[in-house]
């Protein structure tokens, strides 16, 4: 059995492959396992599954069996989701374990432990402010060379001569998927956006995300 003490917990397979690719690119000095709940023995690959599994994982920290943990979830939208609601939910789960939200966010959200355990990281997609999901983050990080093609995808989706089958909140998903369908290797996951250098690595939001990841998984924190 592989030993894994640095974990990035995500909602599902799309996020898993995306963040695996992103972390590869970052060249961190430590190995990080990116996993949705079911890969770790949780019951469901959903946002709820992430929340349910969080205490079990954090309980492995006091004796060093788990060194670093961060979570990426979608804010989704009101009335059931939204940034504020998601933040409050996570805070309710981790505060009995003596983690409290730091007022000094490093890119993403940081929870500090009262008794010296490593910081616990939270990123609420897209940008720790607005409603949305991973695709909304991507939309804000499109490379300048790709912008024209992306804009075209947006207009195609917007001008569909048929009634859309997707819900309005999934419109960005449709736009990003359409744009990705016109790339070198259509039909793969969102991770191709990183592999094919379709993202603007200098964009503010991209930089925020990687700074946050570097902070959580920096080896000297362990």
């Amino acid at each position: 059995m592989a030993s894994q003490n640095r974990i990035l917990l995500v909602e599902g397979e799309t996020d898993r492959s995306f963040f695996c690719e992103l972390l590869n690119k970052l060249n961190l000095q430590v190995a990080v396992k990116v996993a949705p709940p079911r890969d770790l023995g949780g019951s469901h690959n959903t946002k709820e599954g992430v929340f349910n599994y969080l205490p079990t994982l954090l309980n492995q920290s006091p004796d060093g069996s788990l060194v670093n943990l961060a979570v990426v979830v979608d804010a989704d939208s009101e009335p059931n989701g939204g940034y504020q609601r998601t933040l409050e939910r996570v805070t309710r789960i981790v505060s009995p374990l003596r983690y409290s939200l730091s007022s000094d966010p490093i890119g993403g959200l940081i929870y500090k432990h009262e008794d010296g355990l490593a910081d616990f990281g939270l990123w609420i997609m897209p940008d720790n402010t607005q409603e949305g999901m991973l695709e909304d983050w991507l939309k804000q990080c499109v490379h300048p060379n790709e912008q024209a093609l992306f804009n075209h995808a947006v207009s195609v989706v917007g001008e569909l001569p048929f009634p859309p089958k997707f819900r309005e909140i999934h419109k960005t998903k449709a736009e990003v998927s359409t744009w990705m369908a016109w790339q070198k290797k259509p039909g793969h996951g969102l991770y191709r956006a990183i592999e094919d250098n379709l993202l603007d690595t200098d964009s503010l939001l991209y930089q925020k995300l990687i700074n946050w990841l570097r902070h959580i998984y920096s080896p000297d924190v362990a």
């Binding site: 059995m1 894994q4 788990l66």
Partner: protein, 380 residues
């Protein structure tokens, strides 16, 4: 049955707590983490720290358990049982070894004490009063510079009862009687194999009973062709020596018995388990390194047997392991047997600021066990 566990000031377990125990408990942890010490503490708890038991434990570790009068003063020697205390020396303050349940006053306590002479007024037959000195035990806290220290020892307390172990008294004749409370039945399976003669006498006490059938069924877990078992005197042993008994096994299709020892460690190990579990009725059954000699394919069946027997005989089982296979097989049975509580706890060292290095327990109940066995999270 203990519902929780607290161990204080005992070897490296300075302040160790397990909030929840089950009927069957598996203890995991790295080498030298202290998991075997938990078993040792439970042996001492069950045996009420009886002197004979403490001597046996000291001998297992090559530690001192008597004062050697022949050693000249000035040479640095340890006092008997000093190694039992955290830091391998007697505490300066009054800090006893504590073994018991959380928030339960009935815990076993072992104090290091000094013997001092105390004045007592005695009245003889003619009514004359006379002051005599009698030795009493006091802890270092009560010790003042004025009194003459006659000796040192241990004071053992449990449920309001107490008994002394005096380091100066080495005669085996009268100290053996000192005991408090009734000891709890306790069987301990060490990592090495138990002597055949001991197993033979355990066999004698269950022969021709229902328990004998249980033993035979257990043997079939490893060797389905197993038919029967007996202990016989070893004829190859020299006449001058004491009687040595060995186990012989009847195997299906073979006309003559074969020595059990020729069938591999697994058979010997499982025989130990089943022969030693009956005397543990109503008490503890402790296994150091469960997986020793047992291939992973048979471990699940052995856990099933242990869960079943533990419930039937009202035994609380504690086992240690290094093996992931053992954790998996334990978890599977613990989850399947919803009626019997199985708990796994990991012994490790804190990385928190307030108690860095302290030996702590991380408990996995059945739900957490399920998660953890499905995952890559390091449990051991």
């Amino acid at each position: 049955m203990l519902k929780s566990l607290v161990i204080k000031n005992f070897r490296s377990l300075a302040d160790f707590e397990v909030a929840k125990l089950g009927r069957v408990n598996l203890i995991v942890g790295k080498n030298n983490s202290g998991k075997s010490l938990v078993l040792e503490a439970l042996r001492i708890y069950a045996g009420n720290a009886h002197q004979e038991l403490l001597e046996k434990i000291a001998q297992e570790h090559d530690e001192r358990h008597f004062l050697d009068k022949n050693i000249k003063e000035g040479i640095e020697v340890s006092l008997p049982y000093e190694d039992l205390f955290t830091g391998r020396k007697f505490p300066k303050e009054e800090k006893p070894i504590v073994i018991g349940e959380l928030e339960n006053e009935d815990a076993l306590k072992i104090y290091h004490v000094y013997k001092v002479g105390k004045d007592f007024v005695a009245t003889d037959e003619e009514g004359n009063k006379e002051t005599i000195k009698r030795p009493v035990s006091i802890t270092s806290l009560e010790l003042t510079g004025h009194r003459l220290i006659i000796g040192e020892g241990l004071l053992i307390k449990k449920k309001g009862d107490s008994v002394n172990i005096d380091f100066n008294v080495i005669s085996p004749d009268f100290r053996r009687f000192a005991t408090i409370d009734n000891p709890l039945p306790c069987s301990f399976i060490p990592t090495h194999l138990i002597a055949m003669n001991e197993l033979a006498s355990d066999w004698d006490s269950i022969a021709l009973t229902e328990a004998e059938e249980t033993v035979k069924d257990a043997m079939k877990i490893i060797l389905p062709e197993f038919e029967n078992l007996i202990f016989v005197n070893d004829s190859t042993y020299g006449e001058s020596k004491a009687i040595r008994r060995i186990a012989k096994v009847k195997i299906k299709g073979l006309s003559r018995p074969v020595p059990l020892s020729s069938l591999g460690n697994g058979m010997l190990r499982i025989l130990q388990f089943v022969l030693k579990i009956f005397p543990a009725k109503g008490g503890f059954f402790l296994i150091d390194e469960f997986e020793n000699g047992l291939h992973y394919t048979v471990q699940e069946k052995i856990w099933e047997l242990l869960f079943e027997m533990a419930e039937k005989l009202d035994i609380q089982v504690f086992a240690t392991t290094h093996s992931w296979d053992c954790i998996e097989s334990f978890s599977k049975v613990a989850i399947d047997r919803k009626d019997i509580d199985g708990v796994l706890f990991r012994v490790g060292r804190s990385v928190r600021d307030s108690d860095r290095g302290r030996v702590i327990a991380t408990v996995f109940d059945e739900e957490a066990l399920y998660s953890i066995t499905q995952s890559d999270v390091e449990v051991r």
